[in-house]
């Protein structure tokens, strides 16, 4: 089944016609897919996330989430049970001052019995590797840990689709890696559908597919590597290649015959290969 599909979706904040935050969006995400959504600030990425679980309703068009019509308010609760959204700032997502109470918030809202909530907390905390912090105070954790708790809070509801709305934007590189590892594991091991909204190009590289958004429209779509091979086009949308890709490009411009690569390991091998050949 399709996890999320958008058909001709338009959305605008405020009432004035014409100024659309999202303009005629068509997309579909299959179950179990890991899809990255890229774009600069104000490109409509976050609006996209909020449309998926009924926080916003589109001006026109059709959104279907796991076979349910997301525009129908009667489905909203069921959709929210199945689509978890992790937001940008972990501090503004925690409702309780003890980790376990915070993780329990979602399961409590859907009216689960106590024993089941206990099991869900165990499951969610172990899924993000934070079992040891069950009784900790979120305020005293690191950014990466806080965001993992926020993910656990969403996982405890056991959604089928996980949307991360720039959830790594406020984290340091280490925190970003922590969150990324957790999300990748959830996708690979638990077959969770992931919609990963980010402006870090390195992170998009790990996705199965990527969408690039610009001024409320999807302007590029395809495998991340394919998208990154169109560096000039990316630049017109104020996005740049991952650092390694940029180095590669510069090297090629200087006439150094490295193949295009995006990961540090690949680049190291390429340079080694070229250097070796030039010596001989």
């Amino acid at each position: 089944m399709r996890a999320v599909s958008f058909e001709n979706v338009c959305f605008s904040y405020g009432n004035e016609e014409g100024a659309f935050s999202l303009n005629n969006i068509n997309l579909s995400v299959e179950e179990g897919e890991f899809v990255a959504v890229l774009g600069q600030n104000g490109s409509g990425k976050s609006t996209l996330a909020r449309l998926c679980n009924g926080l916003l309703t589109p001006r026109s068009g059709k959104i279907t989430v796991l076979g349910m019509d997301a525009c129908d308010a009667a489905n909203t609760f069921e959709i929210r049970k199945n689509v978890g959204v992790v937001f940008q700032n972990p501090d503004n997502q925690t409702v309780a001052s003890i980790v376990e109470d915070d993780v329990a918030f979602g399961p409590e809202n859907i009216g689960l019995p106590r024993e089941e909530i206990g099991r869900r907390i165990d499951f969610a905390l172990s899924a993000v590797g934070m079992e040891a912090y069950r009784n900790a105070t979120p305020a005293r954790l690191s950014g990466g840990q806080k965001q993992r708790i926020a993910i656990a809070g969403v996982l405890a509801v056991m959604p089928k689709v996980l949307i991360l709305d720039e959830s790594t934007a406020m984290l340091d590189p280490r925190g970003r890696k922590e969150v990324m590892d957790v999300v990748l594991r959830l996708n690979k091991e638990k077959k969770m559908t992931v919609l990963f909204i980010t402006h870090f190009m390195e992170e998009a590289l790990l996705a199965d597919r990527a969408f690039v958004m610009h001024r409320g429209e999807i302007v590029m779509r395809g495998a991340p590597r394919e998208i990154f091979s169109r560096a000039d086009e990316l630049e017109t949308y104020s996005l740049s290649l991952p650092a390694v890709g940029q180095i590669c490009r510069k090297l090629r411009q200087k006439g150094f015959p490295v193949a295009e690569c995006l990961q540090p390991e690949e680049l190291a091998k390429e340079i080694e290969r070229c250097a070796f050949r030039q010596n001989i």
Binding site: V95, D101, G153
Partner: protein, 276 residues
């Protein structure tokens, strides 16, 4: 700013921590009654003894408890000065032949006594409340309140929503404290001065801190609201609770202690002669 502990749970394992939040809230109410019933220092003394017991059995460092007084220091000083100057006493204090009386200001022996009395009273009220919030997680605190206020549901008071609002307010205190710190530093970097000048100037200097703070609090509230909705919060009655409140042997013990304190204070009021 970061060391303001009010509303901040201190996680250790102790007798007081393990008491049922409902009992602790009732105990606090009873304690406040005892403090207000105390007509003289005998009663306050008894309350102080109970306070010391509470601190000792909570295993919260005394410094952490004392820190919560900072927030109300101004209030204490303010009421102290008012009482000192304007209390309607009879014996005006005379120092080195100078009678301390100017116009409506009249410093009397009774005034000084009453000032000390009121300061002790406020001090104990704040300390007792601080112990409650230091030993009870906001969640169990609000669970306790909600449970105690359940009868109000019959007259359609949204008890659950109110309890949730309170717990979130408590949980946001440290975040907002950090925010104040950040904004104050930002304003200092622009040349704002918070530590010099008269009271009017200082209050004026606070305004450029309050407005960004308010804005940021509203923005946070909006984000938190979205996050809560995204996590299936609807405010409905079908919501369940993970943590269940249960009374243990500790609760009758502190209940009795509280009753004994109130009774003791009343008896002392009746039978003991006033000091001074």
């Amino acid at each position: 700013m970061k060391d303001v502990t009010f509303g901040q749970y201190y996680p250790v394992d102790s007798f007081v921590h393990k008491c049922d939040p409902r009992m602790k809230i009732l105990f606090l109410v009873g304690y406040l009654v005892a403090v207000f019933l105390s007509a003289d220092f005998y009663g306050l003394g008894a309350c102080a003894v109970v306070l010391v017991l509470c601190v000792a059995f909570s295993r919260v460092p005394v410094r952490s408890v004392l820190r919560s007084i900072k927030g109300v220091l101004f209030l204490i000083v303010f009421t102290a000065i008012l009482n000192l100057f304007f209390y309607q006493g009879e014996t005006t204090v005379v120092i080195a032949g100078v009678s301390l009386q100017w116009g409506i200001i009249n410093i009397t022996v009774e005034g000084i006594r009453f000032m000390i009395f009121v300061m002790c009273r406020i001090f104990m009220l704040v300390m007792a409340s601080a112990i409650l919030t230091l030993t009870t997680t906001p969640v169990s605190l609000t669970d306790g309140l909600e449970s105690l206020l359940t009868p109000l549901k019959w007259i359609r008071v949204p008890v659950h929503a109110l309890a949730l609002i309170m717990s979130i307010a408590l949980r946001m205190i440290p975040a907002l404290m950090d925010e104040i710190d950040r904004i104050m530093n930002a304003q200092r970097a622009r040349g704002a001065d918070f530590s010099h000048g008269g009271p009017v100037k200082r209050v004026k200097a606070i305004i450029p801190v309050l407005i960004p703070l308010l804005l940021s609090a509203l923005r946070r509230a909006e984000e938190l609201g979205d996050a809560m909705e995204a996590r299936c919060y609807t405010g409905s009655q079908t919501r369940t609770r993970y943590k269940k409140l249960t009374f243990t042997w500790r609760d009758p013990v502190i209940g009795l202690l509280c009753a004994a304190l109130i009774a003791g204070v009343v008896l002392m009021n009746i039978y003991l002669p006033p000091i001074l």
